[in-house]
Symmetry: C2
């Protein structure tokens, strides 16, 4: 990285305005101008692809999401690699709060389309993180990558009760953009799609308006649309050993997937929640189904939010925590000790033709091995979790998320080497 991390779009604009007169922009690049940073809405330095891991995984979960899956429309391996290089460059710029391209949204050449679409002018970096992943279909042979497909990078199977929409599932590539300002996340996806014009096309995309997980012990646990805290037992950024054990792909994990070492797998599931039905259940039933209190998120076996649930503690009719409750079904102790890093978002996409809100959880979870960590878990949840009655999975995808980059590299370079 270079020394320009602190330059925000606001400063770029202020610096660029002198170049404008009478509606004509002179060819002054809206690039690194130096000087102090405009205070950011989000704490901490900007995210970067440089380092052992991509940003947006253990980065403290931002409030807003725009996620897009892409189909590759070229047959050229070189064009694909070039796109990843251009995405890396534009992504780094946007994560620093700069425009997507070097010549910015409002400066010359005046007779060409701008290198940035402009709707983030004046906005701070807002903690933007960009995370790029590869679907199993990318390694299907079109680009000579089939022999490098790790065994765990498979199309997710049809789970019991899945009601998947193909138009909301799968994809050759994905980009997860998270920020504390939705306009910044939308701007990032839109500009990467613009840069990819002719090489990729958007297959589906999803906005999320509120995070439902904490990925740092410094964050409060937020609430999902059932009104409950979610992801209390999430793997957190501070748990270095647990991350190594459960989240990051290790060097010996797969002989064909050595390029993924330091990366992770991302499961994306669009889960509609039947909130009108849920809202008519009693508080007792809601808490029984979840296995935690609604107010504090404490397990029904007692204590506070972060007290470990006691699944054996007896009540009047069996254990205080129902054996089919969500907290027990999803807990590591009933899943061979497996843990995943959840990073999902609440969504509302208008309403259905039955007059119900088209709303739910866009489930995003990172893990070291989806075959052992997700497939058995979701199979069990779909069959036995009391909560499943109120859920409908409508989208599904799996992506391999390459590691971070060395200085001057691009995301996924190890796959193309």
């Amino acid at each position: 990285m270079n020394g320009s991390q602190g330059i925000s779009r606001r400063r770029l604009l202020a610096g660029g305005l002198g170049a404008l007169a009478g509606g004509a922009a002179l060819g002054v690049g809206a690039t690194r101008l130096g000087g102090d940073d405009t205070p950011s809405a989000s704490a901490g330095p900007p995210s970067t692809f440089t380092g052992p891991h991509q940003p947006g995984i253990v980065t403290p979960a931002q409030d807003r999401l725009h996620f897009a899956a892409f189909d590759v429309t070229t047959r050229s391996r070189a064009e694909l690699a070039d796109l990843l290089r251009r995405w890396t460059d534009a992504g780094e710029r946007m994560m620093r709060g700069e425009s997507a391209g070097a010549i910015g949204p409002t400066s010359g050449p005046y007779d060409a389309p701008p290198d940035d679409t402009g709707e983030a002018i004046g906005l701070p970096p807002a903690g933007l993180s960009i995370t790029i992943g590869f679907g199993p279909s990318l390694l299907d042979g079109r680009f000579g990558l089939a022999r490098r497909r790790p065994a765990a990078l498979v199309r997710l199977p049809h789970f019991p009760a899945d009601n998947l929409d193909p138009a909301r599932s799968d994809g050759d590539l994905c980009v997860q953009a998270c920020a504390d300002d939705p306009q910044v996340a939308v701007h990032a996806i839109r500009n990467l799609a613009r840069i990819g014009f002719g090489t990729v096309s958007v297959r589906w995309s999803q906005l999320g308006f509120g995070r439902t997980s904490s990925t740092s012990t410094a964050q409060q646990t937020p609430r999902n649309l059932f009104g409950f805290k979610d992801g209390t037992a999430n793997v957190k950024a501070e748990e270095t050993d647990a991350l190594k054990q459960h989240i990051w792909v290790g060097p010996g994990d797969d002989p064909d997937g050595a390029w993924l070492t330091g990366g992770s797998y991302l499961v994306a599931r669009r889960i509609n929640m039947n909130i009108e039905t849920w809202d008519r259940q009693s508080l007792r039933d809601q808490e029984t189904i979840i296995g935690r209190t609604k107010a504090e998120g404490a397990p029904l076996s007692g204590g506070g939010e972060f007290t470990e649930p006691d699944f054996a503690l007896p009540g009047r009719d069996g254990p205080l925590i129902d054996i089919a409750s969500h907290v027990r079904m999803a807990h590591p102790t009933t899943n061979d000790g497996h843990r995943i890093l959840r990073r999902g978002y609440n969504f509302v996409d208008g309403s259905t033709n039955l007059g119900r809100l088209d709303a739910g959880l866009f489930f995003l979870a990172y893990m070291r091995d989806p075959v052992t960590q997700y497939l058995p878990l979701q199979t069990k949840l779909a069959k036995q979790d009391l909560l499943s009655e109120y859920l409908q999975h409508t989208g599904s995808a799996l992506f391999a998320v390459p590691p971070g980059i060395r200085d001057g590299g691009f995301v996924g370079e190890s796959l193309f080497a």
Copy 2:
């Protein structure tokens, strides 16, 4: 109003936790507990229906929107009036940052559904405003209100190039919920829909992630998804005379619509923007179409953002500001001096099956008389505005927005009196 305006959900929860033990909630109401306020994300006192006008019109535009249109499913006038009374009560509570119902989301009776869905527990009021409107169909005779329909409360006509989806248009009732936290806006709509179960059903709903207008001189002008500042010439809260002239319905405006005095009309239009096409236009063409610079939003005739455009100022080939530019076409001077109060939001609803973002502007505008202020304006824009080539109107609705209430009244009471 009473003295409990300063009580936030966070305090209610903190106060209510003592009542919870071992997963069982005792019947302590999560109501007014007194004490200091948790600092709000938004400045100013909470919004209220009490006063000459409803909130959410001249209220400084909040960052996020959830808007819903409802069909009334009952035939009972009494049930309809009762719903408006319950909405008023719940709306007042939520705007103060309290739960939607008196017994809250986490306290007894334990064997009944909670009076609030819970996802806003712990969140501050976030500047929530709720605004309720009546569509022309509400006054169609089902409820004995037909004789009180003002002449201006008509179904909007089909404008040139409209491509309207009936499932995103019209409605008997509407609720506009604006807040600086989207979870607070979603919570408000969802709880009003829950309260209306059996009386109304959601016809359509729309999330907006970023405001595109300022309604106060203290606010910066934000940017739309074309990257331009929008609504610079908006009617602002501080312009008392202009509000009276252009926004609030006057006592003599309509003999059948005296109940609407102090209210307004709300035009809602879902306008898809062809952003991929726009992004391939040169900066010169983009600025010519809009008639303003992209960087600052200054008219192409010179000056700064708030300089009045000079439509006569000559350039090399005709006026510097194109006669068909958006700024000229929409300007009061070319529309018989009419002004409206715009309060729209950017939206992205995923992507289309053509791989384009389903994105645009959810246009919301308040005005005193849609027949003279909006119908001619939109007819002209659809035919002549250079910008129209990049827009597609996909949803359309008109609502009469009753005035604010007296203490103890309910929204729309004057219509039922």
